[in-house]
């Protein structure tokens, strides 16, 4: 899928992957997440937990929210908090909000006891985002994170992302829109010349 691709992201830095539609931005993120296997080359996390794969250092925030409509917002979030293995503090000391506090922080605290089926698209998106701040993990892989968010929520998202960077986290996003992130690098994917 990719040839001659090499990049590194330092602690506290972000990488914005750009490129035309269909070029493979999402595939790149999914490869890092370990959801697509590498045919060649390697991915490593320096000073990471050697027991874990690269993907297990990551939070994946993709197009889908993974919210179960039959469960309440709080049940959804609490499940992911309990289920997702956290990173040990020695490797990464990131945000670990309590589920209810995370919901409040994202402005959907009032929906905590409401089934996720009743949430609007933006609220569902925020519920999915809350998952990233209840379990600390150093690398956030975000595929079009701003989709379905209005401007206030977008500002909110940027605040959370910068907070994560400030704590020494890393963010790799695939997006078309410019995001005001600190220590931003860019990676532009281009179609290979057909020989």
């Amino acid at each position: 899928m990719f040839t001659g691709l090499s990049f590194s992201v330092g602690s506290g830095a972000s990488l914005q992957v750009t490129g035309a539609n269909g070029i493979g931005k999402s595939s790149l993120l999914r490869t890092i997440a370990g959801l697509v296997s590498l045919t060649e080359g390697e991915l490593t996390v320096e000073d990471g937990d050697p027991e874990l794969t690269v993907g297990e250092h990551c939070h994946y925030f993709g197009h889908q929210n993974s919210n179960k409509p039959a469960l309440t917002a709080l049940e959804n979030l609490s499940f992911w908090r309990d289920f997702t293995a956290p990173m040990s503090k020695t490797v990464f000391d990131g945000s670990a909000q309590a589920p209810l506090a995370a919901l409040e922080m994202l402005g959907i605290g009032h929906t905590a006891s409401i089934p996720a089926a009743y949430l609007s698209a933006g609220q569902g998106r925020r519920l999915a985002l809350a998952r990233l701040i209840v379990t600390p993990r150093p690398i956030w892989l975000m595929d079009e994170p701003t989709s379905a968010l209005d401007t206030t929520s977008e500002a909110h998202l940027l605040y959370l992302m910068n907070l994560h960077l400030k704590r020494g986290g890393m963010i790799i996003t695939a997006t078309h829109t410019e995001l005001a992130l600190s220590k931003k690098q860019k990676l532009h994917l281009q179609a290979a010349e057909l020989a």
Binding site: G107, P115, S153
Partner: protein, 255 residues
């Protein structure tokens, strides 16, 4: 149009609140008389002995199993044809009651059958039809449960109920046909000698008591359903609620 006066759920709930005490009282009295009569007054049948007492609950339950389906079929017409707003509430509330009464009639029927026929169950046309009715009730309940939007679910269930109502005679006919093909073994016929009035009176009282019980429970279940929909509407509002949301949604994170 009396029915349309209760189209407003709030007025309906108020009406239920007012009638329920009377219904409950009537129901308790009817059961008191019915049970007293069926144990102390009714003679044992010369053929079936004391097991005839099972009839006092079996027959009313079977009668209700059918009446409940009629209520649901009427309500379904109400949903689809007259678009009465409480019709699907009524249909939904009736389904579990119908299933329960059908189940009672199946259980008591087989408990009656064991001493009479020597087996708990025979594939007799009457029993089998009731079993099919039971499955239809459960199917309807499953349909109600799996669809989240009560209005959509109500319409789907109404269509199924009416198709079922049209189909029930056909089912009954084919089951009869199937049963006569396989010569009925040793089934007792209900249409034997005319029923003695000493048995008939308690039976009628018990039937009345069960009917009252059904209406009481039906009204209460309908009231619950109205409340459930109110909760649902309010939850939708709460989720979208600008008041609740604006208080916390401003980008002022807690830390």
């Amino acid at each position: 149009m009396a029915i349309w006066d209760f189209a407003n759920p709030t007025r309906f709930v108020r009406l239920v609140d007012r009638t329920l005490p009377w219904l409950v009282t009537a129901c308790v009295i009817a059961f008191g008389i019915g049970l007293y009569k069926s144990f102390f007054m009714a003679p044992e049948d010369y053929q079936q002995g004391d097991t005839v007492r099972i009839m006092f609950i079996h027959v009313p339950a079977a009668w209700l199993a059918m009446m409940c389906y009629s209520v649901m079929a009427l309500s379904s017409l109400g949903t689809l044809v007259w678009k009465h707003p409480l019709a699907d509430v009524s249909a939904k509330a009736a389904a579990p009651l119908g299933a329960a009464f059908t189940f009672i009639s199946l259980i008591t029927g087989s408990l009656w059958g064991k001493p009479m026929w020597g087996t708990y169950w025979v594939w007799d046309a009457r029993l089998t039809s009731v079993l099919v009715l039971f499955i239809m009730y459960l199917g309807l309940m499953a349909l109600w449960r799996t669809m989240e939007d009560p209005i959509k679910a109500g319409k789907a269930a109404a269509v199924l109920t009416l198709v079922g109502a049209l189909n029930l005679p056909i089912i009954k006919f084919s089951v009869d046909w199937w049963n006569t093909l396989h010569q009925p073994a040793s089934v007792i016929r209900m249409d034997g000698p005319t029923i003695h009035p000493d048995i008939l009176v308690p039976l009628l009282v018990m039937a009345l008591a069960f009917t009252l019980l059904f209406f009481t429970l039906h009204l209460m279940a309908m009231r619950n359903e109205v409340m459930r929909r109110r909760v649902r509407a309010m939850r939708l509002k709460a989720a979208a609620g600008p008041r609740a949301a604006s208080a916390t949604a401003a980008p002022q994170p807690a830390e």
